[in-house]
Point group: C2
Chain length 221, copies 2
């Protein structure tokens, strides 16, 4: 197992925190396991990018994410909560753009904004709370789309066969640290051309002290 160079913790909340714990090796057919901790972030439609940053604006990739083609953008937006009394000033945008805009926060973020969020699979935002996004060129009022992303594990069909699971199944992730924690209800999502990667949010990563973890194990329910 190797742990990627530590990101300056003071800046973690400013960029997407992709703290990577790799579990290398194992029997043939077992992929390297990467656990990433996603800080709060926003996905936008092309239209909303233009509203917030100006006509014709395209997102500027700043940092590649682990899955090919995905990136943290240079751009950030302000996320304003209900009643417009509280806000998070610089929430990172992830690219590329999507068919629907979506804000992914940890519960700690939601509490500080005054938003009572549901736990949802990414993209399943019908009936979720909204918020206001403020950019340098304009404002977007999202009627819905604020969620806590359900903990999940991306994998290839080959990984799914190795673990004996299919999309929609639940797995467990055990993080061994000074605060050892087992996350259950981990949603399996198998797709072609996707690498094995668990996504947790900052509450989950912090609860398990994943920065100082000595190992991680992906297990069936």
């Amino acid at each position: 197992m190797s742990i990627a160079p530590a990101i300056d913790r003071a800046t973690i909340e400013q960029i997407v925190r992709e703290l990577v714990l790799k579990q290398v090796g194992g029997p043939p057919g077992k992929s390297e396991l990467v656990v990433s901790v996603s800080a709060r972030h926003v996905h936008l439609t092309e239209e909303h990018v233009e509203t917030l940053f100006g006509p014709g604006h395209k997102l500027t990739p700043m940092k590649d994410l682990y899955q090919e083609g995905f990136y943290a953008a240079e751009e950030t937006v302000m996320v304003v909560g209900p009643g417009r009394r509280r806000m998070l000033p610089t929430v990172r945008i992830l690219g590329p753009t999507r068919p629907r805009s979506q804000v992914e926060l940890a519960f700690t973020d939601g509490i500080s904004l005054g938003i009572d969020m549901p736990v949802r699979q990414s993209g399943k935002i019908d009936g979720t709370p909204g918020c206001v996004l403020v950019g340098p060129a304009g404002v977007v009022e999202l009627k819905e789309g604020v969620i806590r992303a359900e903990r999940h594990v991306h994998m290839s069909p080959q990984d799914a066969a190795y673990y004996g699971v299919k999309t929609g199944d639940r797995m467990r992730l055990r993080v061994v640290s000074s605060c050892t924690t087992t996350f259950e209800d981990l949603l399996a999502r198998a797709e072609e051309k996707i690498k094995l990667e668990v996504h947790l949010d900052t509450d989950e990563g912090n609860a398990a002290d994943i920065d100082h973890a000595s190992s991680v194990e992906l297990l069936k329910p």
Copy 2:
């Protein structure tokens, strides 16, 4: 099992969050299990209370905690991080006063302040980071005392006998919710006149979505 009336989540970070999940009943000798989520808070010496709030000042109890004799005070302090660039404006003080002052934060709080905290048992603060506390009447520079409190379970000697553990042993807490999570390394602390109560921090409570938990189980390692 019963769940206490929900505290307004928007105010959770302002007061001590003592969200209580009670597991009632069970065989004779099994106590009711209460799980409390402690938001960031400060313990002060009498001397520091006077420095921060004025000569002769005594803490004013605002809300009783579950363990007899302990309370959240009306008073709050500002906690300022290293370099004095970032702060948490209103961190609740818990009473009664103690022989040493101590600041208990979740890792999410520490990251926002720029403090890299160790996980410590309450009171074991030698060599931990410090911070600056600002009150209405004065300022205290703590040389050490900022920790993430290690997850733990208080109990009576009778509870310890029931579970077959002693002070210093480790247990597990399984929280069943939409984000079911098992917290290992739960430190057992048995003392006379203490009720059975697990203490988690806000990162842990949020990671497990404890506000919407359907049950909790306390287990041996």
